[in-house]
């Protein structure tokens, strides 16, 4: 079937850069669609300029809400990007080689999530040129110091893990120096996977630990296991449960947009099964933790669970987080017939990813909304358009990198075989 753009003149032919055995849309169509991420990034540019130039008065953050949508998005994308380290861990260290067809995509998505979060945090800290102060004047007792060190170092590890995919480009790989370097990187990738696992484990945990040690915030404070609060372990567990789902979800969305099969359904089902079992472990721990907090910890401090949930952050959030976006995806992902269905697997993974995002929202916003002094009121928070603009960077930057990577890099090794006509 002829399409409207088939009659347009060809400006440039970049087909020699496409991955071997694949086809992509024409350059002018690709350039047209690049307008979408570039528009989003322009929106980010305007918002970031206003925030940096005029200050935090451009946001709805205040003395109550020191954390806002930027931290929610940051925590959510870091959790969703955990597919990179966990899939690499399973593939390179545990030896689950069935995941090889999706590991490049997982690393790419992790790279997008982490670099996007770091860029956004550059605006959040107010003076990005002083970002290095955290390294030089480190407070070793702060969870955030550990988070900053591990996230930035892991972003470097992700760059190294992504490098072979860039060097394996059809044209770049023909250069003997690049081809040989890529080959040698492949052989030693297990070391980077191990370093990434170590770094990820600690920063995912410390992001949760940051909330669990807030003694003055009864909504967030939790009991400790050793030196770590329970939220440390809950954040690690929820991230490794949602990460593989998010990776697979992005692959499925790309398949629908490009009308191509990129990985076999067997790989997606395996990712769903891994996500399901990890989510089950997380949900058991999370449910026990919530019950202990609600019926033992809070009463011991003279508080009740009813005081913790007031509109608009009412008890519906508990049912949504633990029920609709918690136990329901567990049941779905652990049911073989659901995993066999493309649509239901997509839905289950979507619910799982919404669940972890909602969890990060609740810990960030609801913890701060609760009054801790007698003269304070329960207040709510809505971001300004400038805050949404800065947060949208993750989307624009992610779309741009993913579109370029899909077009030019061998991210999906099964694609040529699955799309043979």
């Amino acid at each position: 079937m002829r399409r409207w753009f088939d009659d347009l003149p060809k400006y440039a032919d970049d087909s020699s850069w496409w991955p071997k055995g694949t086809t992509r849309c024409r350059p002018e169509v690709f350039l047209f669609w690049l307008g979408l991420p570039l528009t989003i990034m322009a929106y980010f540019g305007v918002s970031a300029f206003l925030v940096l130039f005029k200050g935090l008065n451009q946001t709805n953050m205040n003395d109550y809400f020191a954390f806002g949508v930027w931290i929610v998005v940051d925590l959510a994308v870091i959790a969703l990007g955990a597919g990179a380290f966990f899939t690499s861990f399973l593939n390179y260290i545990i030896g689950k080689t069935e995941l090889k067809p999706i590991v490049n995509a997982a690393v790419l998505i992790g790279f997008i999530c982490y670099t996007g979060a770091i860029l956004m945090l550059g605006i959040d800290i107010g003076q990005p040129i002083r970002g290095w102060f955290g390294f030089w004047h480190a407070n070793v007792h702060s969870m955030l110091t550990e988070v900053m060190f591990c996230i930035t170092t892991y972003a470097i590890v992700l760059c190294i893990e992504l490098l072979p995919s860039v060097l394996d480009n059809r044209r770049i790989g023909k250069v003997p120096e690049f081809g040989t370097f890529s080959h040698n990187l492949h052989t030693i990738m297990i070391v980077f996977a191990a370093a990434g696992t170590f770094l990820s484990f600690f920063h995912q945990g410390s992001l949760g630990g940051m909330f669990g040690v807030l003694y003055a915030r009864p909504f967030a404070f939790r009991g400790h296991l050793g030196i770590w609060p329970m939220t440390f372990f809950l954040f690690v567990m929820s991230a490794i449960a949602a990460g593989p789902s998010f990776t697979t979800l992005i692959v499925m969305i790309t398949e629908k947009i490009t009308a191509k099969r990129l990985t076999s359904h067997k790989v997606k089902m395996l990712m769903g099964k891994i996500s399901g079992w990890l989510l089950l472990v997380y949900m058991v721990c999370k449910s026990v933790d919530t019950l202990y907090w609600a019926f033992i910890y809070l009463p011991s401090k003279g508080l009740s669970v009813g005081q913790m949930y007031q509109m608009p952050y009412g008890s519906w959030l508990v049912w949504a987080e633990l029920g609709l976006f918690g136990w329901l995806p567990v049941v779905m992902l652990l049911t073989p017939r659901v995993r066999e269905s493309y649509g239901l697997l997509f839905l289950a993974m979507l619910l799982n990813c919404i669940g972890v995002t909602l969890n990060r929202f609740i810990f960030t916003i609801q913890s701060l909304a609760l009054p801790v002094m007698p003269f304070e009121k329960f207040i709510s928070y809505l971001p300004t358009w400038q805050e949404w603009g800065v947060a949208s960077l993750v989307l624009g930057h992610g779309l741009l990198i993913f579109m370029l990577a899909y077009r030019y890099l061998p991210i999906f090794p099964q694609e040529p075989e699955l799309n043979q006509r």
Partner: protein, 53 residues
């Protein structure tokens, strides 16, 4: 932060935290450096890997 910075203290917190951090950073950059070195030696001895080979 390095031990010669005035804020540095020789306590367990600094030693464990920075010991682990610099350990991981050393492994990552050390292995990357060795891979670059191996690539140079491979190219020198004619062990070339590329899309054409």
């Amino acid at each position: 932060m390095l031990p010669f910075v005035f804020e540095w203290q020789w306590d367990i917190g600094h030693i464990v935290f920075f010991g682990l951090f610099f350990g991981v950073v050393s492994v990552v950059f050390g292995v990357l450096g060795l891979t670059i070195l191996k690539t140079i030696l491979d190219l020198w001895s004619g062990k070339i890997h590329s899309a054409d080979h």
